[in-house]
């Protein structure tokens, strides 16, 4: 066997051109497959929960009605479930927040998770340094200022061994670092990790700014905790579901007397991608199958290329093979020799492919990091080659070897000894034109073209989607709009002081030259964060009075934001009726309660009448007891919040004073829409704000167009286009190489025939058309098959497409045209070469 590899090494070394093309072809295909495995391994396959992940579930509570609206759990509910030892060995509480973190000079906003003391033991992790917090530190309102940091955060701060015991300034208060979480630990999420883990006991200190969030966890109406549980050993999800109604009854029994609606518990395997308060229905199966199908397609195309090259090589080596057989080698011995060459090529391609996969995944991680850079998450996605990736790459090498090498080896070893030992090169025994047209190598290249077209078409669909997403009518005007994001929770400001500061910022910005209007919103369209609220007409029946518990909850959900006067003008959102909020309404919580809705919500709430002047109320009254009812004083035009939302929701705006938020977006609308002029205005605006108050908690001052461009929705659509584009481009490249190789080989094999034709008087143009004609016919047949295949694949991709028909004629035509032109260009060179064949040389080849 070793001698086979030695000989294979020598043989391949003698044909460096062939070897290089083969290795590069395989490297691209195996590399992309390894990259997909590494990606899926990091996202889907690798267990996130270190200890018995199959026992861990997220628990949700839904209202028992048709709307199934979800809320989080109260501390009392958490404790009740924690005591259900017959079902759960542990139930842990988690809440997510942003915190201003600063050590020494710098302050940055970081993602922070509040958890109960049993969270880390339940997950089965031990600290990398120090300790995790204890039960006393997690007792509601205990207010022990201790913090556990993520491993990556510790590393970012220098990774000093004396880190434990030092202090961090979190929301302007000093916290003692008691431990460091293990490397890559992210709770139940596969992608992002908080920088800080905080005990539930300090939750109250972070919940004070927002009037809609209650700081006191002991308040039975403070539904703010997400629950993750570990089932008792042996209990399955189905078994757990059978026990949940009884647990639901326990929770119902401890609700406050005025609680409305009964609720039911639900459990689900934790989502690897989301920290939603609702169960996620997103399945990763389609993503896995889709990515593997595309990557597998590329591997198949590359293998077809290699098979064709080896068929040609086998034909050229038929005399050598015949000689080996004549000298007594068995057929298996010859096949083994040829397989050794294939395996050597595959391993060389696999090694280079691994480098390509690491490079490709680094690019992807960089892209995701860039996306999340403004959102202060730490990425924990692990896409480096590990044992799984290496094993998969090895498997791909074996599969590729079998696909591209076995067939040609079997064929090459089936020789006519007498004929092949005599043969001096030249055309093979003829089998007729049809057989030549459908010769295995031509069939393979036609399959290759059809598959490549399918990948190109898929890329075209996603590219069209990306173009449409970029060109959507937003309903607001980001050009000339500078966004100042500030988070008052990062400083020492109390809500009233923050509000005063905010209005001072608005007034200062309005006074700047070139500024048209200024307004503040607590929700940023295309800003990756969503906040909704549900409202009903004020005169609707009380929800608790419903007779049928399964009837839908009255009212409609709308995207919810607090805004100041000037917001709509600054955003470029037309007010179609009524008016904007006044400064008094925006600043004074005691001012009459008013609201602005968009035309969609207005139509939903009052389908038969005029919404302007009508009164509405929240279905869930404000937690701080403030009035729920408000008058609609304005109706604005609809505008998008998310580029890929299948169905946009209505919008509800209330004055900022009624829904204050620490994190605010100040929109400064300039007189210009020019991108350069807008960018040039960033520094003067920043300087003006600094001169107003050097301590302002400004997170960013950015042209709104940049933020729109960085939205996650757009990124998803674009990354789809990039991924499919890469697959399509590689497939196209391989198809061109494949067509060229087959045509060049065909011309070489037909040299003598071409010589005969020239001797008989064929013009150079006749020879050219002889070669091209077959290329055109085969390309046409393959493209036709590819179009049919593409239309089928388009239907499978339909759910992933953004406002593009799965039979999009432009994508079909463009991909078919691109592939046809490329394939014919690949035929052109061998055809031109055929024209220059010397008939004397060609006939001498006999």
């Amino acid at each position: 066997m070793l001698s086979d590899f030695r000989f294979a090494f020598r043989t391949l070394g003698k044909t460096p051109g062939f070897t290089a093309v083969a290795v590069i072809t395989l490297a691209l295909a195996i590399g992309i497959n390894s990259a997909v495995v590494a990606l899926l391994n990091g996202l889907i396959l690798r267990p996130v929960v270190p200890l018995h992940p199959e026992q861990v579930v997220n628990v949700f509570t839904a209202r028992q009605d048709a709307n199934r609206d979800y809320r989080q759990f109260s501390y009392a509910e958490f404790e009740a479930l924690r005591n259900a030892r017959e079902t759960f060995t542990e139930v842990a509480a988690v809440q997510y927040s942003l915190a201003g973190v600063g050590r020494d000079d710098g302050v940055r906003r970081s993602f922070a998770f509040f958890t109960s003391d049993n969270f880390f033991p339940m997950m089965g992790v031990t600290p990398a340094l120090g300790r995790f917090y204890n039960a006393e530190e997690c007792r509601p309102n205990a207010n022990h200022r201790v913090v556990v940091t993520s491993y990556s955060y510790w590393q970012r701060l220098g990774g000093k061994p004396d880190f434990v015991g030092s202090t961090l300034r979190v929301n302007n208060q000093l916290f003692t670092v008691i431990g460091v979480a293990p490397e890559n630990f992210s709770g139940v999420n596969a992608i992002i990790s908080p920088d800080l883990w905080l005990p539930l006991g300090v939750f109250a200190q972070f919940a004070g700014f927002d009037s809609l969030a209650m700081p006191d966890l002991t308040n039975p109406k403070n539904y703010t905790l997400n629950l993750t549980a570990r089932m008792v050993p042996g209990l399955t999800l189905a078994g757990l579901n059978a026990r949940l109604p009884a647990l639901s009854n326990r929770l119902t029994a401890i609700q406050p007397a005025d609680a409305t609606g009964t609720r039911e518990l639900q459990a689900q395997v934790p989502s690897r991608f989301s920290i939603s308060t609702e169960p996620e229905n997103a399945s990763t199966g389609f993503l896995t199958v889709g990515l593997f199908s595309m990557a597998g397609c590329v591997l198949l195309i590359a293998s077809i290329n290699l098979a064709n090259m080896l068929l040609a090589r086998g034909a050229a080596r038929s005399k050598e093979i015949a000689l080996r057989l004549a000298l007594g080698a068995t057929r298996w011995r010859v096949i083994r020799q040829l397989l050794a060459e294939g395996l050597l090529l595959a391993f060389a391609g696999g090694a280079l492919g691994l480098i390509i996969s690491v490079w490709a995944n680094d690019l992807l991680v960089q892209s995701i990091s860039g996306l999340f850079s403004s959102m202060n998450f730490s990425l924990v996605i692990h896409m480096r080659p590990d044992a799984v990736v290496l094993a998969a790459t090895f498997l791909f090498c074996l599969v590729a070897t079998l696909m591209f090498s076995l067939g040609p080896a079997l064929r090459s070893s089936r020789v006519d000894l007498v004929h092949d030992l005599k043969q001096q090169g030249g055309e093979p025994t003829a089998n007729g034109r049809l057989n030549r047209f459908f010769a295995p190598r031509h069939c393979l290249v036609m399959v290759q073209i059809a598959l490549s077209l399918t990948l190109l078409f898929s890329a075209g669909l996603f590219l069209r989607g990306a173009m449409k997403a970029s060109g959507l009518a937003l309903g607001f005007e980001p050009a000339g709009n500078l966004v100042v994001e500030m988070d008052y929770s990062l400083g020492a400001s109390k809500p009233d002081a923050a509000k005063q500061s905010l209005f001072a910022v608005i007034d200062r910005a309005r006074s700047l030259p070139g500024v048209q209007s200024v307004g503040v919103g607590t929700l940023l369209p295309y800003g990756n964060i969503t906040n909704t609220s549900r409202v009903i007409p004020a005169n609707a029946a009380p929800i608790g009075a419903k007779v049928d518990p399964k009837a839908p909850t009255p009212g409609f959900s709308g995207l919810f934001a607090g805004t100041t006067d000037g917001y709509f003008a600054a955003m470029g959102i037309p007010l179609v009726r009524g008016r904007d909020f006044t400064r008094n309404e925006a600043a004074d919580k005691a001012a009459p309660r008013v609201a602005i809705v968009d035309t969609r919500l207005a139509q939903q709430l009052f389908p038969k009448g005029d919404a302007l002047g009508q009164h509405i109320r929240f279905t869930q009254p404000p937690a701080d007891g403030s009035p729920s009812e408000m008058e609609i004083v304005g109706i604005c035009a609809e505008h998008r919040h998310d580029p890929i939302a299948a169905r946009e929701r209505g919008r509800l705006y209330v004055p900022y004073a009624q829904a204050p938020n620490a994190d605010v977006f100040v929109h400064v609308k300039l007189a210009t829409q020019d991108a350069l002029a807008t960018a040039a205005a960033v520094n003067p605006l920043r300087a003006a704000l600094r001169s107003l108050d050097p301590e302002l908690p400004v997170l960013q001052v950015t042209p709104y167009t940049n933020l729109v461009d960085k939205s996650i929705g757009l990124w998803i659509v674009r990354i789809g286009a990039v991924l499919f584009g890469v697959f399509g481009a590689i497939a196209l490249l391989l198809a061109v190489v494949g067509v060229y190789g087959v045509k060049a080989f065909a011309v070489a094999r037909r040299t003598r025939e071409i010589g005969i034709r020239m001797a008989l008087g064929a013009y150079p143009a006749d020879v050219f058309s002889l070669v091209m004609k077959q290329g055109v016919q085969q390309t046409a047949l393959a493209v036709l098959a590819g179009v049919v295949l593409s239309l089928g694949v388009g239907r499978l991709l339909a759910n992933l497409l953004f406002e593009v028909s799965p039979t999009d004629p432009f994508a079909i035509l463009a991909s078919a045209a691109l592939l046809t032109v490329s394939a014919l260009a690949a035929c052109y060179i061998p055809a031109r070469r055929a024209m220059r064949i010397s008939p004397v040389e060609a006939l001498r080849a006999e």
């Binding site: 003829a430 030549r436 008989l760 008087g761 064929a762 013009y763 143009a765 010397s838 006939l843 006999e846």
Partner: protein, 231 residues
């Protein structure tokens, strides 16, 4: 028999391989009349096939002049040479050189398609040529279904179909047994009797005697011309 069809004057052919010059032909003078049957004889490697390639416009002389049918042809462009090969010259090769994917009929009509001849005329000409060589009944067969002698007859029909000014035969019996060889030589003799001009390369003196005249070549030079007295 007095009109000159092929006239070579001082034709030389030099092949350059790396730094080695090989003189395949040196100062060949040759005059072949219309209707003449000439054989070119000589040992292997003497240059007779090179001479035939030059006569058939498959190759160009390094020096000297070549007048075919009254027209100098040594400096023509590739398409013009193709046109003359197609209309003035018929080739018969040692290994037949039929195209395996084409039927007998298609092989015979192939040179006519390059001439742009209408299909009906092509059919008539190809059928006539096949009948002339006694292969009309095999028109729909593939070459691989024929014996060597039959294949060579088809090759002759293909050469004849376009009614060329000259038939160039390169060792036409080289791949045939003696019986089939004799049969092909008989066929060429009949064609010659019908008025065809034939130039045949052979190293077999038996077959050279079928010609009116034999030109002997050695080391790229004409060393002897011999008029055959009896066929």
């Amino acid at each position: 028999m007095s009109e000159s069809l092929i006239k070579l004057e001082g034709v030389t052919k030099v092949f350059l391989t790396d730094e080695v010059e090989t003189h395949a032909l040196s100062g060949i003078h040759m005059d072949i009349k219309k209707g003449e049957y000439v054989s070119i004889a000589g040992p292997s490697g003497c240059g007779k096939s090179t001479l035939l390639s030059i006569l058939g416009l498959l190759d160009s002389p390094t020096d000297g002049s070549y007048v075919l049918n009254g027209r100098p042809v040594q400096g023509l462009s590739l398409p013009e040479r193709a046109r003359i090969r197609n209309r003035e010259i018929g080739f018969i090769f040692q290994s037949f050189n039929l195209i395996g994917d084409l039927t007998v009929f298609e092989n015979v009509e192939l040179p006519l398609t390059y001439r742009g001849m209408p299909a009906a005329e092509r059919k008539a000409a190809a059928t006539e040529a096949l009948e002339k060589v006694g292969m009309g009944h095999r028109a729909k067969h593939l070459p691989s279904q024929l014996s060597g002698g039959q294949q060579q007859r088809v090759a002759v029909a293909r050469a004849l179909a376009g009614k060329p000014a000259v038939l160039l035969a390169d060792e036409p019996t080289g791949n045939l047994d003696s019986k089939n060889g004799d049969s092909v030589m008989q066929l060429l003799a009949e064609l010659h009797k019908g008025g065809a001009t034939i130039v045949m390369v052979t190293h077999d003196t038996r077959f050279a005697r079928h010609a009116d005249r034999t030109i002997h070549i050695f080391d790229g030079r004409v060393v002897q011309e011999q008029v055959e007295t009896a066929h």
